[in-house]
């Protein structure tokens, strides 16, 4: 079986000692010594407060940390709780820390957690990010309750985000996932999420673990698999998501595990998405969206410069990906001054769909196609920042909704390009 290779003998022995559980919480870590202790403490408090009757286990899947992350997890799992004296468990709360082979990869960590949940027959599971600096005990309830009590198979989070946080999610992942797979999931690439044992078993059986998507961007494909597999999906409001959290200074790996995974998924699920047209909302516990507006110092000039330079330098690469009209449009946009610069919704969506079609046809190396999208995303981010600089939260939401509708309206373009020309 697939999970046999990912579970080491020692880990397997520890799991067998635990026996069957109701709730399993996975924490993927890699050099998270700064935050992991607090996360484990809060997690224990959450489980004791909200699920005292459940047999629970916390599984820490570590990618080979060199900063004593695993020691801190073990220490936090046996230390006294700081979250109130009235927390008592009716069952033993187990905590196991294991190091998976192959170096740090969130996909392998998820694989380890899923394999453990399958072995322990856990009915409700959750994955919590170890770098969540503002993780709260209530998050456990928000995520797990719909799975444990309402029979949902996947619960993704909804965060209160700053209007300029998660630009790639707002400009590409959410609108395109919504247009393609017809489900309005705000955070399709979640850092924290809960899922049923049924969905864990379904995803574990997929033939992805030896591929790139099985190492990076796996959580995103997990969401897509839940939608395409017809599982019950819900969203749960979690509260603030700090904008510095999970900041990825290098956009290329971020683009690989988001746009790369999304484009790759189109090939796998063509029969599912080619007939879906209108998007449907998913049940949401709490507000569907909340946007904070505090001032943030952002350099738009650099984004513009990198877009202009990218279009100029990558013309030979973009020629093989984009249609003549789209490329000409980008060149025109790159030729105007920063103040007049605009990468419109239509132009952005056309670009993305042409990239997706080029990826499907492998017109050049697929990884090169994904990399070539990075400077164009910077241009789009510039326009998003400029458009939403001095607007209210509702207007930001309205602008995101307009972009989503543009993705949905232009979906037939992607279908016509899929097996036809550019």
């Amino acid at each position: 079986m697939a999970e046999e290779s990912v579970l080491t003998d020692d880990f397997l022995r520890e799991l067998i000692n635990v026996g069957q559980v109701d709730v399993l919480i996975g924490i993927p870590t890699y050099n998270d010594a700064e935050t992991v202790g607090q996360v484990v403490q809060t997690l224990r408090a959450g489980l004791l407060r909200y699920f005292p009757r459940h047999r629970a286990v916390i599984i820490n899947a570590d990618g080979g940390s060199k900063d004593a992350t695993q020691d801190l997890v073990r220490a936090a799992s046996i230390s006294d709780l700081q979250h109130g004296p009235n927390l008592h468990t009716l069952r033993t709360l187990h905590c196991i820390s294991t190091q998976y082979p192959g170096g740090p990869a969130r996909g392998t960590a998820l694989h380890t957690i899923l394999a453990a949940s399958d072995l322990l027959r856990a009915s409700c599971c959750a994955v919590i990010s170890a770098d969540s600096s503002n993780f709260q005990a209530e998050w456990i309830e928000s995520l797990l309750r719909p799975v444990c009590h309402d029979n949902f198979d996947l619960v993704t989070p909804v965060y209160r985000r700053h209007k300029f946080d998660g630009l790639l999610v707002r400009n590409l992942l959410y609108p395109m996932t919504r247009a393609i797979y017809s489900r309005r999931i705000r955070e399709p690439y979640p850092a924290e999420f809960a899922f049923s044992g049924r969905l864990a078993g379904h995803f574990l059986a997929q033939d992805i673990w030896s591929q790139d998507v099985g190492r990076a961007g796996t959580e995103f494909y997990f969401t897509i698999s839940a939608i395409t597999g017809g599982f019950r999906v819900a969203q749960s409001f979690m509260g603030d998501k700090p904008h510095t959290e999970r900041a990825a200074p290098d956009l290329v790996p971020a683009m690989r595990r988001t746009a790369g995974v999304l484009f790759w998924s189109l090939d796998q699920n063509f029969s599912v998405w080619n007939s879906n047209m209108d998007s449907q909302p998913v049940p949401t516990i709490g507000p569907e969206h909340e946007i904070s507006l505090e001032p943030l110092r952002v350099s738009r000039k650099r984004l513009h410069q990198m877009f202009v330079r990218g279009v100029a330098e990558l013309t030979p690469v973009l020629k093989s990906i984009l249609s003549t009209d789209t490329l000409a449009e980008l060149e025109r946009a790159a030729a105007v001054s920063e103040d007049d610069f605009c990468y419109s919704n239509e132009s952005w969506v056309r670009t993305i769909y042409e990239f997706a079609a080029a990826y499907h046809k492998s017109v050049i190396s697929r990884d090169h196609i994904v990399q070539a999208l990075v400077p164009l995303y910077r241009g789009r981010a510039h326009t998003f920042l400029a458009e939403n600089r001095e607007v209210s939260a509702d207007e930001v939401e309205s602008n995101v909704e307009t972009l989503c509708l543009t993705f949905e309206r232009m979906k037939p373009n992607l279908l016509s390009m899929w097996d036809g020309g550019k």
Partner: protein, 234 residues
Amino acid sequence: MWDTIVGELIQATRETWHGVLHFLPRLMGMLVVVLLGWLIAYLLKSVLRSILRLARFDRLSEHWGASELLNKAALPSSSELLSRFVFWIAWLGFILVGVRALEIVGLQEPIAKFFGFLPRLFAALFVFFFGLLAASFFSRAALLAAVNADLPSPRLVSTTIRTLIIIFSMSVGFEELGLGEHTVLVAFAIVFGALMLGLALAFGLGGRDLARRYLERRFVRERKEEKEDELSPL
């Protein structure tokens, strides 16, 4: 006297006629071999073209960047080019077999040499073709990496990598063909050495700040906090 002349003439005519009669079947044989060769080469070309189309060789070639190179050189698609190449090599082989059947003494050795040369020609073309593909792939990878890392002169980096790989594959190809082995090798060593020295000097003198910034970004964690508000894309 007259009889002798007539006899000699008849003898000469008879010998010529004999020669012609002796040569004609070989000529006919050659023509048959050449025609048959054309037919076989044509069939080979058609079969290979179909196989390559079924195997989506053009897409593979596009994927590796070979199609781009062929377009620039106004050449047909990769599958068409390969099919035509096989056609000409096969037909040329048959032509030479036909010529050999004529048993013209002076041509035997060059023909044998040509057949001996064919495997080396194939090996050289193979090396050169894959050299071009590698040059295209790695130069594009370098261009993208340089643009996304906001490094100066990405096209220069990309072109340099492409040129180096092409020169390298050409030198290996020529060596395989046995053409100017030492000249090409020495020329390559000089060009490569000069380039490396130039790059070493350029990076050493001009790239100190860049190297410092890179090392700081790579190894000094505190730099992260000093940045302008970093926007998380996710």
